[in-house]
């Protein structure tokens, strides 16, 4: 079985994996980083979104072996120095979560939207950008509010 090494949340990691192992399985099963979730089997729900080399990807759709040497950030690595990321704060402040299952993927996508689109986000744009993230609980209203507020806060 191939050994796959990456940097996850700033730490060098490596594990011996079946070549079919998906990134999400590598994170959840090999590294026990269970904050990244699996909500579907067709790459639609976005519960599994993480950042690879700074950009959001669906970790259910990438093979771990293809990411040898990559730099991965998961929800567990977003808070820095014991301080929540502004997007995490914004989700809590705006009640952007209920059951919490979609939340890690939502937050990782939200940060990526801000990285790509800037700190002033129109509601319509946020809604369009969330195409790849499904939430069954919140009706999206407060997620949209949270992302808008989080985007501003990320601007400092």
């Amino acid at each position: 079985m191939p050994v796959v090494s990456m940097t996850v949340n700033g730490k060098a990691v490596s594990a011996d994996v079946d070549p079919r192992t998906l990134l999400v399985q590598y994170l959840r099963e090999n590294l026990r980083l269970t904050g990244t979730h699996v909500g579907c089997d067709t790459s639609q729900c976005g519960a599994c979104v993480v950042h690879v080399n700074g950009a959001a990807i669906k970790s259910c759709t990438a093979l771990a072996v293809a990411l040898e040497g990559a730099n991965v950030t998961t929800i567990e690595g977003l808070a820095q120095g014991g301080k929540l990321h502004p997007m995490q704060e914004a989700f809590r402040e705006n009640h952007g979560l209920q059951c919490g299952f979609c939340t890690p993927g939502m937050i990782m996508s939200a940060v990526d939207i801000v990285n790509r689109k800037g700190n002033k986000l129109e509601e319509k744009l946020i809604r369009e950008e969330l195409e790849g993230n499904i939430c069954r609980c919140t009706g999206y209203h407060n997620i949209v509010k949270a992302i808008s507020a989080g985007a501003e806060a990320m601007g400092g």
């Binding site: 079919r20 089997d41 067709t42 639609q44 519960a47 919490g100 999206y140």
Partner: protein
Amino acid sequence: MSMSGIGAPVRRKEDFRFITGKGHYTDDINRPGQAHAVFLRSPHAHATINRIDASAALKMPGVLAVFTGDDLAADKVGGLICGWMIHSKDGSPMKAGAHPALAQGKVRYVGDHVAVVIADTYAQAREAAEKIVVDYTVLPAVTDMNAAVKPGAPVVHDVASDNTVYNWHLGDKAATDAAFAKAKHVTKLDIVNNRLVPNAMEPRAAVGDYDFGADSFTLYTTSQNPHVARLVLSAFIGIAPEHKLRVIAPDVGGGFGSKIFIYAEETVCVWASKKVGRPVKWTADRTEAFLADAHGRDHITHAELALDDKGKILGLRVNTKANLGAYLSTFSSSVPTYLYAPLLSGQYDIPAIYAEVDGIYTTTAPVDAYRGAGRPEATFVVERLMEVAAREIGVDPAQFRKKNFVTKFPHQTPVIMCYDAGDYNASLEKALEMADYKNVGKRKRESAKKGLLRGVGISAYIEACGIAPSAAVGSLGAGVGLWESAEVRVNPIGTVEILTGSHSHGQGHETTFAQLVSSRLGVPIDNVSIVHGDTDKVQMGMGTYGSRSGAVGMSAIVKALDKIEAKAKKVAAYVLEASDADIEFKDGKFSVKGTDKSVDFPSVALQAYIAHKFNGQDLEPGLKESAFWDPTNFTFPAGVHICELEIDPQTGVTRIDRWTAVDDFGEIINPMIVEGQVHGGIAQGIGQALCEGAVYNKDGQLLTASYMDYTMPRADDVPSYNVGMTQTRCPSNPLGIKGCGEAGAIAAPPAVVNALTDALGHENVPMPATPHAVWRAAQSTIAKQAAE
């Protein structure tokens, strides 16, 4: 109102772990030595099983065992049960076919459980499952209810040769016929309430773990009601006696009803953990969730409303066929009967109602409660009829509703329910105002200039929540009581643990329940913890569904807190050297009436435990109380939702422009959380109306078994919601709470369809009103406009 007490929009205590990825969902749990289960599912909708050959599978690497229905039967593991007995019109009991956890001789829907493979890894179990050879004789499928009841249709269960589980009815037929005989106008409607898949984002999962030393089982599972799961697994399925079976439902990622039920998979995992001597884990993939989670809705209804010459309702007649799928799921029989027909009076004063419901077997997944459960179906019937009737007699739909509202309380409907409190006019008036209803004509003209069709639709819903009292539901056939329990443990330093039989899977109990305790005892919410979801920690409880955690679960906490206060006053009396009768408790302080002598709550807690100031024979040491609460009535949340939308007749695309919701939930503990519940419910209702529909083809294959084919509402399918409240206190529980969890899903579908049909100028548009369906419906509208 304090910053953290009742009524404050306190930010949720549970959020920290969820936003940092530190939640503990069932699939996050791994037990030492754990093996993995994969279910071999039927590819056929209906077939007899002649032989299962697992020999090749057993030789695959890592495989520990393959089990079939015969193995369960040999161990005397009972079948899955339906816990609500319904009787047909003629008094005969419903015809419940056997429901083995693994098929015995026959499969009845695509996804039915044929065998389970247990292996060292998930991948090994999955590969081995493909090596099992099953010899089937394929039988014809029947997925359509009308076809299922025709003579000669394929028979799903021999006990029900006409595929009819029951022919049930409610109401007074003669009185209703008489009302129709004198009607000036009768509105008739044929309605299809589309089949939905609940789709909590966390798929179901289970880890069974057997402890040989203690001869006891632990089951970690995605449940809304772990004690009910333990009761059923123990008393009916016979896995182990209750004291040898612990059920833990940790963080659960949404339920919406689908995680109430006791399914085959958890039954098999917990049983198999003893058979293979290792913990056994199963996690559904999304396709399995589509195939085998209990579905929702799926009614065909003909309904008629009788009016007099002044537009007053005289009577309502409803005939419904409800698809129950291939087996009766845990509470399925009650959903289209007692959770449906008793709500057919809506918010209206209707003198006579008669409803007939046939429950039908088909070769499809079992159908059971999904957010609202019966009440959305009833509201859809009533609110579509109200809208169409108003249009037919040429009256404004808002005025027509007003004219027929119940205005005096209590109000006994002809269909069981006694509405205890409400002000339906107040909600309607406020909603019309917030929606700027009076200017809708102007907005329609503006849309028309752009070639768009604008419509507005009202939905005035009522629901019965709490799902209680126990004696009442017992008389209607429920196999369980529907009270709730609570235990309050005050620790010696004055922190508080609440053990509740309610279960939170997104509702935020860790926050709202702590707010209640904080208000009552004056302790900060950070000093209160909520314990739930573990049958070894929490005494018997009934769980969370039917918007019952506030009205019933918190009432049990109130009752236990009353006992805590009474006991603490006695302790305080010793400490303050006064008589109990003179002790007052306010803002976390006990004081002696008319003096400045006082002691705070934590000090009293400490005194209760060190027991130095009183004699243990006169007063028991300690400060811990428990309570069971059984309500005196259902609760009746009600409100008005108004949907305003635009259709592009060229593309069929519908855009919801405004959503107004005005709800009366009685007293509110945390308005932020309540609004969140309303938002989520509305999105699910919009999903039903515009996007979602489970479709089986005639061979019984589920065509919509993934997110590629089943449209979940996305952020850009729904609008921002304008949510308002009115308030009448609920008289049947101490906090005055009515419940809010299901309202949006109940209110929304008829609001959307009433708006669509208003825009289209005719009533012929199905749910889900996809762009294709709307485009087709708009063609006759365009043709008519061109002709005018």
